[in-house]
Symmetry: D2
Amino acid sequence: MIFERIKSEGLAHISYFVGSKKEAVVIDPRRDCQVYMELARKEEQNIKYIFETHRNEDYVIGSCELAHQIGARIYHGPGLDFKYGETLTDGQIFHFGKMKLIAIHTPGHTDESMSYALVDPNSDDNAVMIFTGDALFVGDVGRTDLYGPKETLRLSETLYNSLFNKILPLGDGVILCPAHGAGSLCGGAISEQEWSTLGLERRYNPLLQKSCEEFVRFKVAERLERPPYFGKMEEYNLEGPKLLLKLPDPPALSSAEFKKWIDQGAQVVDTREPSAFGGSHINGSYSIWMEGLPGYAGWLLSYDKPILLVLENRKQLEIAVSYLIRLGYDRIEGHLCAGAEACGLESWYTAAHPIDHLGLLSVQELKKRLDHSDNLIVLDVRTDKEWREDHIKNSLHVYVGILEERLDLVPDDKAVAVICSVGNRGSLASSILKREGRREVFNVLGGMMAWQKAGYQLIRKKS
Amino acid sequence: MIFERIKSEGLAHISYFVGSKKEAVVIDPRRDCQVYMELARKEEQNIKYIFETHRNEDYVIGSCELAHQIGARIYHGPGLDFKYGETLTDGQIFHFGKMKLIAIHTPGHTDESMSYALVDPNSDDNAVMIFTGDALFVGDVGRTDLYGPKETLRLSETLYNSLFNKILPLGDGVILCPAHGAGSLCGGAISEQEWSTLGLERRYNPLLQKSCEEFVRFKVAERLERPPYFGKMEEYNLEGPKLLLKLPDPPALSSAEFKKWIDQGAQVVDTREPSAFGGSHINGSYSIWMEGLPGYAGWLLSYDKPILLVLENRKQLEIAVSYLIRLGYDRIEGHLCAGAEACGLESWYTAAHPIDHLGLLSVQELKKRLDHSDNLIVLDVRTDKEWREDHIKNSLHVYVGILEERLDLVPDDKAVAVICSVGNRGSLASSILKREGRREVFNVLGGMMAWQKAGYQLIRKKS
Amino acid sequence: MIFERIKSEGLAHISYFVGSKKEAVVIDPRRDCQVYMELARKEEQNIKYIFETHRNEDYVIGSCELAHQIGARIYHGPGLDFKYGETLTDGQIFHFGKMKLIAIHTPGHTDESMSYALVDPNSDDNAVMIFTGDALFVGDVGRTDLYGPKETLRLSETLYNSLFNKILPLGDGVILCPAHGAGSLCGGAISEQEWSTLGLERRYNPLLQKSCEEFVRFKVAERLERPPYFGKMEEYNLEGPKLLLKLPDPPALSSAEFKKWIDQGAQVVDTREPSAFGGSHINGSYSIWMEGLPGYAGWLLSYDKPILLVLENRKQLEIAVSYLIRLGYDRIEGHLCAGAEACGLESWYTAAHPIDHLGLLSVQELKKRLDHSDNLIVLDVRTDKEWREDHIKNSLHVYVGILEERLDLVPDDKAVAVICSVGNRGSLASSILKREGRREVFNVLGGMMAWQKAGYQLIRKKS
Amino acid sequence: MIFERIKSEGLAHISYFVGSKKEAVVIDPRRDCQVYMELARKEEQNIKYIFETHRNEDYVIGSCELAHQIGARIYHGPGLDFKYGETLTDGQIFHFGKMKLIAIHTPGHTDESMSYALVDPNSDDNAVMIFTGDALFVGDVGRTDLYGPKETLRLSETLYNSLFNKILPLGDGVILCPAHGAGSLCGGAISEQEWSTLGLERRYNPLLQKSCEEFVRFKVAERLERPPYFGKMEEYNLEGPKLLLKLPDPPALSSAEFKKWIDQGAQVVDTREPSAFGGSHINGSYSIWMEGLPGYAGWLLSYDKPILLVLENRKQLEIAVSYLIRLGYDRIEGHLCAGAEACGLESWYTAAHPIDHLGLLSVQELKKRLDHSDNLIVLDVRTDKEWREDHIKNSLHVYVGILEERLDLVPDDKAVAVICSVGNRGSLASSILKREGRREVFNVLGGMMAWQKAGYQLIRKKS
């Protein structure tokens, strides 16, 4: 048997390739689906079936793309009016090579959610692995709030039932293969531990230690971020997203061409490190560090405007593009022309185009300023959860994801020192403030980690 | 956490790389250890510890090689006078990053055998994975006959105790990470299923369904191949093998240089497919197909003579060399010079050096010959187990591994048609007969699989 | 300036990529045109123009393919009714980056043949390089017989004029960039020396030492091979060949699927080495070694039937496919399924499908047979030129390219030992004879090189 | 024949690999010599000879390194007491494969300088190519000032003689293969045109248009930069540099380890773009952009202190290391630990270690400041030649290479705006000023190119 986990960084999305005797299945493929085709080629497998665990809301599913390129059949769960693929019934069985896959209806995260049990018929039909999608993660379970507050109670009860009456009974020895790892927005506290079993989860997953009543109460009270692009993803994944055929290859633009796109309304995404963005950047650009692209682009970028990239070097182009197309951002019109090793901004500078700067502060510099001035406000842009854990006295809290919508919360008569955990989200938030015309904006390099390390005072959660 | 299985084909040996927060451990490294260093570099981990599950007998352990290159510490089990590394005590605990590893003495396969439980201290100290070396495999357990018949009983009882009182109690949910997969000589019937848990094994591993008495009786009766090179491996792995520093890179030799080495006693290994070897080959060469090199070189090649390679193309050189050095064959003096795509034999032919041929038969041709002649004997060179399963009437059985020693069993007044399952071992056995001067030797292409497929008669095991 | 020669093996075709300040041109691109796009990406160049030196007859031009993928403009010479691109006038000038290219009409090889002079405007407008297509090679000039015997005289005179009045006057210091190197069928005796200048050619190219009269006499008398596929190429290159978009990726077929294609009339091409093909092969297949594919496929394969491949290993698939599509063979339906390292024939054998063999002889064995038997005829399949140089007494000569058409020349009442220079063309010729039902066919490994090396008698050309 | 140019960026050094029939020569190998070994392997060549054109002064020659690894013989010119290799005589002939190489003594750049003519014996012994080292470049000739002013006259006359009486007589058609391209410090005005011939140079090389008297006068008056590390190179290349065996692989350091090295006197080289360096950097580090490393490290870095690297990302490590070891900087002790895509400075920030900033100005901002303040001085750090061409009124000129020695020239009572052509050397010069404790230092992004583009006033050279 061939078993491969394909992890997509940033989204912490995990898809699976399982092959046996020249026949393979793929579960929850991503849109840049070359990876599965290369595996198939390398391992001499033909991909026979593609299974979706549910209509994903955090990324564009690659089923149609993959099926189009290699001719496999697509299956998903019942109850949604999918415009592509075939609908499963609970208990439906598929054979590939010497293996067997059983589709199990496990609603709760969404109504059509499926799990898939991998069975070795030579071994007494026991399940070896279970692909649980967003029903069960390592250390957590799927969120149940996606249908809105009115439905959360019902979905939570449904999920409890799926977990305790459909998944866990498969046995402690079954290996758990969820659709997400730590960092995903699809669960609240997924563990960094990537490998687990139903047995380990049954004993140690905090959610599985609860009674049904406790479980439902906890889930109903849970507050998780929900970026606005989720709506677009749901639409794409119901209709079947546009076929790409191959990864877009946005051209290297001269600074003149780049400027022309900007003048026509393009959104500029600058993926350089906070220090570089702070030093100088193109007026109006968003600062989103490379690994933050999958998680934060969807909060800010419009699907209706072209996108331009400013990169540290040419090699990052393919990564940035794959991150964006996984979120359905297909209109990437170019990146600032640069040599293989050089940042494209050089051509911008030498053309004497205007640039902007951001103040950058070490925590020592921040402390000194706070100690000597009344006119500086600390804006903490971390999540609610992080902020509750600890924060600087008198700091203002607005989560970076909603900052652009809630600029009214930030006083405009003071200088603003933006802080996050290390400085990346701080740079993004600073770039949002700059876009809105705020003049005195500082990003704190090292963030709360450095503040704490330097031994400065904190307000901590009472436990 | 970073978790990587590194599988060495042919030996079906599995080593593991586990990292957490910049610190990593490697379990049972192979001798061509660049793979671990590349993982460490890619994942930005420093390898802190190297653990051996036991003094391996089927390959050269890479602990010293790896430790020399990156400066890690080596640990192994108690009771053997290892000339390198440090000795563990049962229950000894190691920390790396956020993880914990507990050394568990699990003798039985050998007396010093260790298992290692990987524990996530954040999760209530439960074991997540167990590295069992040759104690427990998927679908099988380690062999207990390596100390000779007198010790097999004792080792079998010991192993039963290790399995039932030390390993299985860790819990059904623990993921099983053994040192070998299907195809290894270290177990009799390891499953092709590569992923399992203690729970799955407890329920479905045939050996774990037995009582202690049944278990011991089965193990004492078990008959497994034991190639002669095992002795050399044990010596190497006790003393610490010679350091390589980098993979040998045997030069491309002209046919004149190649011939000179042969005249000085070099052993020629021809890894081309059976059809090519049969068509023509250098007199006296062994026919060992590429994937067969790890499993069969150790039965035949001398450690005291230089080795030469005849390859299908240049790209196979590195693979062949890595296969051989894993068995401690370091004296690889060259390969027949060829272009990137061309077989080096062309230069041998054009130099008008002597060549030999082997008869090649389809099963149809074999059948016809058997039907019309008394002078052809079928020599079946598969394992005892395969032969007992089914064979051609009146065929003679000698396992390929011992054929060179037992040529007396093969009548020398008849033509010999060698058969195995598909034709690879048949080619090797044929080359052995040719080396001994037998003239009329045929290899049956497609072997017993084709014979059966063609619908010809078989003598089958009574069940 | 960026200057890259892209050499396509086998056809000995050379194309060129020249870039300056982000703008590049490509001259005579091949059909698998990713190589130019990768260069453009790596060097940050935009391909602006594509120039064809003439309607090539030995391969499918990649202009349309490349232009389609990157949007460049295509240019070719006057006088032919091309269905794509734009027509040049003599002396037309193009600018790209800081460089200048001048189109020079240099008919003779064909009427529309162009050369292109690369000029550095900063250096006094001198030509630095000249791209001569098939007008001038290193050590030879283009053939002038492609329009048939009636036109050869006229073309030869025209070519002489182009060489002496248009190309050589550019100056001795100009670097020569021809469209072919040694081994091409587009010239009779192109030098293995790959780099030259007009100065070196003027002094040392044998053809350029002749008077116009001598030149024309020589060219009219010249006899060069002309494979039947040339006609197809001319048609393709006039109309613009079918777009591929990407290299075909023929699937790995099971032996059952493979057999089904054969039963439906597919042509099987076996690229394994002569020894492997001789040992065993699928009945009716052509033996064409990998490097021989570009030069010999066009003599034998039909454009109207599907093509199947038998390869030594999976890695050769892409090479074989690129060789075939360069000749316009797009109907490659699959290759025999195999593991990465294994030859696919194993699955054919184990399915008990029929196989055939070819006799293989060393020159010693050939000599012995010739000395002891009257019933063996030696068939020499080398070119006329090679045969005139030296051959075995009483051998029969038929060039491999025309053998299939002229089987009547080979007596069918005798065994045939086929010989070429080393054994590759011999294997191809043997496979042709086998396809026609000849039973006793032998290929001589090492060929005439080995025969001579062994010191056996030869009939040599009188000089 | 196989012919490969291997270009080392930054130094604009070109070495050559020429092979024929399994035998190859390398001319002027660089120290990271894997490139030649890979070529040899790929092309199935054995490197037989290594030729040095002269004792190079701008990089560490790789002859000993390569010879050690593959066993070839090294040759160089007469008159210097080399501690390795063999000494040539004028006219000495070497054979490899079918080719011939003739050593020609061509002193002038240095006394022991050699050229090598490549001859094809099959073509009437004519030279096809000439490897001229630092005697003749495309568009320029070698510098003649390396022995000091007293010897320049003699060397210039000698070089003229070598060029006109030894090299040019080989014929216009000979292809020119010099040791350097545009950007090298070994010539004053080497052309960007990379390919040329003796014929083209004879007609268009400005130096070759001069009479002997004019030539010598020009060369004696020539003023070229001479970095201090040249002396070290000469010493290394006479003695034979230390063997590396493989490229150093400096470890990823934690910020604590990094800081410890700094406290022990290590030199920090920050290769990030000017904007990033300006935004924030480790106190006391040099800002040297990646492509500037080969050209500027030798002006500033000490051979006696350890070197640390701050990189944009992990992938740049190997490039930076190869650049440094080519200059003999072997003590590279580590780089700041980072993920594959992340800049290592993050760990420095979060550890709350101190950081420094540099002011960054667009030309618009610079102009505004100059217009409104008397307290800002513009420091132009370009070469003399560039400065003479044009500069900003009242700017102070000190070449970046000598700035650290001549800080006395920069008034310390004013703010300093450093300008170069685009901003890279400006960042380096700014970092030098910062190291010396200057507080108000600005780097002008876009440099003089942007200043000119913006249409601001310039003082131009009178022509």
